[in-house]
Symmetry: C2
Subunit: 195 residues, 2 copies
């Protein structure tokens, strides 16, 4: 294989996780996604759901972090602690052998490794709205509002912990619109690049 690790960044609801899982299966290598949450929970002692929410999204936590460090001198927030454990784990997984890593800013954490292929999966609001209702069911908020909230939180998290802009095409080797191309075609294209 030309690449050791494939990182998949993705918009919420785009099917990026499915692309990652299917690609890993096709290549016969592991795919790390929720496994990362479980391992960070083990190491940090924080609750799994809490890590899921703060290890990639922020609900004002970033503002707390900034406020805290400016006002009282630096003391790491929960987000900072989780970020550090997560980053170390991702570097360890990348060293251990070929794999696919979904989300968690792995593209940024491994940015200096020439054997890493960086991928971004995105799709239109319509495609993602339909998909999250199928996958997670209806909620009180409309699917459009749920997507807007998640997009905002994920962008804030990414832009705070990296020096790059979430979704900028130039951060990635490939960006694919899964709604336009279809999940299977995305997997085919990526397998063709990696092999």
């Amino acid at each position: 294989m030309r690449y050791k690790v494939i990182t998949i960044s993705r918009e919420f609801g785009s099917g990026g996780r499915t692309v990652g899982k299917q690609l890993a299966e096709k290549l016969g290598i592991p795919c790390y996604d929720r496994e990362i949450i479980e391992k960070v929970a083990e190491e940090s002692g924080y609750d799994k759901q809490y890590i899921e929410e703060t290890g990639e999204y922020t609900k004002g936590g970033i503002l707390n972090t900034i406020f805290q460090s400016r006002s009282y001198g630096y003391s790491p927030s929960n987000e900072d602690i989780i970020w550090k454990i997560q980053a170390e784990l991702i570097r360890k997984l990348a060293r251990e052998g070929p794999c696919v890593i979904v989300g968690r800013c792995a593209d940024y954490i491994l940015r200096d490794d020439p054997e890493v292929l960086r991928v971004f999966i995105h799709a239109s609001m319509e495609f993602r709205a339909k998909r999250i209702v199928e996958e997670y069911g209806e909620r009180e908020d409309s699917p459009q509002k749920r997507l807007r909230d998640k997009d905002k939180q994920r962008t804030a998290y990414y832009d705070y912990y990296t020096d790059m802009r979430f979704g900028d095409g130039r951060n990635y080797h490939l960006c694919l619109d899964s709604g336009e191309l279809g999940i299977d075609k995305c997997v085919d294209i990526l397998a063709g690049v990696v092999k």
Copy 2:
């Protein structure tokens, strides 16, 4: 073919034009690039080199346009006139039959047409610097400075005439790093999607 038109947006020096030419050849359809400049020159009476410079880049022209319209009420600038002729020509080319169109905000102009595949080609500063010296020779300014200037002008032009952000992965169906993947691989991927 699944798509009637393929638009190729690209960073200066990334080889996006070459990708467009080779893709068109592979598909047996025309590729419009400098032909657009010539046709706009014919229709507008402006000089070809002037159109090349103002039909995709700006050197303060955009600021003139904003200033002019705010201070004296709206009267179209040269940029506005060229934009309008260019946009009409691009719509006409898309109606005439299958083709590849390189640059000139064709992705934005044809954004509502479901038979258009929108592509962005980019590459690292190192790859592009090497390439522009090979292609256009040495100049007084360093290749890095030439790239930064061109990037700035092209971004300003795009962001002014469209309501999108130049280089944002979510504007395109595919974004490909030609430095990482190679020109030939980019052409292969695109031919595989279009056919």
